[in-house]
Amino acid sequence: MAETLVLVGTAKGLFSLRSTDGRRHFELDGPDLAGEEVYATCIDGRGSSPRLLAGSVSMHWGPVVRRSDDLGGSWTEQDETAVAFPTDTGAALARIWQLAPGGVDQPDVVYAGVEPAALFRSDDGGRSFALVRELWDHPHRSQWNPGGGGLCLHTVLVHPADPARLLVAISAGGVYLSDDAGGTWRASNAGIVAGFLPGATTPEFGQCVHKVARDARDPERLYLQHHDGIYRSDDGGASWVPMHSIGGVDFGFPVVAHPTLPDAAYLLPLEGAEYRCTPDGRCTVWRTSDAGASWSPLTTGLPQADAHMTILRDAFTTDGDAPAGLYFGTRSGELYGSADDGDSWQLLAAHLPPVLSVRAATIA
């Protein structure tokens, strides 16, 4: 029977939830990697058997990438460090923000987005990574500025039809595109207003992009949650247009595309930019089914009073199934899930440490 696996990275370790009854009930397990902040996990289903990756950081002992080939039963760390900056860069790895599979025909390619903002590539399934020099050497890099979470490269999207086409997003540097597997990079933020800059301008780069997601059917369509706005691209990220505002609350961290339906995406707006909690004490997921022309609130099963929650950029995800399973975790340690495209939600876990990242998949 298929199992749904949800990995919940927290400020104090990695938890997992598993369901074998069609996502009606989940069993909580953990923590693994106790005491470590888990900002990035990856459930990689491209190989002959699923592989899990986790990027964590210990306050004392620094960052580590681990792999599991038994669905989290055990985690291994390579003797030689997996992700490290070359000596000549003078940089030291602070945190791993993203672990993303390469193309479907590149089963051993994995990307890591890190802090300080840089991209690493693995060609051996996550055992070892090499710095993508061309992005590190980009002339804009010295002008990138850290957001509240640090100067991080937090999003890596590989084009499903052409794995040489990469999109990365940096807070606060903006969106960068490559058409040659990382050999060259260009900023691509046309249309994104940096409202936090004097004059609310649209600079070539420097936007505080919080997250980007790709449409399920149209790979050129992208959804973007910016620091103070929500945008869509219909040309693979070359240009961006504002989506219809959600009641004037356009601050938020995550954006999730529906895994199978076209033009469908989800947002979790927060009252921004100072408070950064669910507006009016109500937790609401918003769904569009028309590529951001309109949004519908989803509240069934979500707290609608005295709920002052923060959901971070990688703490909202889908399991890729149909209907979509959706999961988000809060900094107050709750995990909510939906098994019906977001129509209804249930509290799957509470009293966890602050949730930093959530990833899910259905495993055959």
Partner: protein
């Protein structure tokens, strides 16, 4: 080198590691030697640029090397170097 319990998994399961250094070898030399045999232990003590992690202290005997010559602190035969996590966290 004395290895705290939290690091024994990456330190070969041992509570102490004996390391032979050249005469007038330093803490940096010690960490180089540890890195050759137990790289995952070394990188928990210092980052890839060689900087001691901010919440990790190394003591030679009862002296914190931050109050000595740092990684350049010279070691003598028989010195015991302890890895001590700072009392930080939350």
């Amino acid at each position: 080198m004395r290895v705290p319990a939290a690091l024994r998994e990456v330190g070969g399961g041992q509570s102490t590691l004996a390391v032979d250094l050249r005469e007038a070898g330093t803490v940096a030399d010690l960490l180089d030697a540890i890195g050759a045999t137990h790289p995952a232990l070394e990188r928990r003590i210092r980052d890839e640029q060689g900087a001691l992690r901010i919440h990790v202290n190394l003591f030679v005997g009862e002296e914190n090397i931050r109050g000595l010559a740092g990684a350049g602190t010279v070691l003598r035969a028989g010195d015991e170097v302890s890895i001590v996590p700072a009392i930080s966290g939350g």
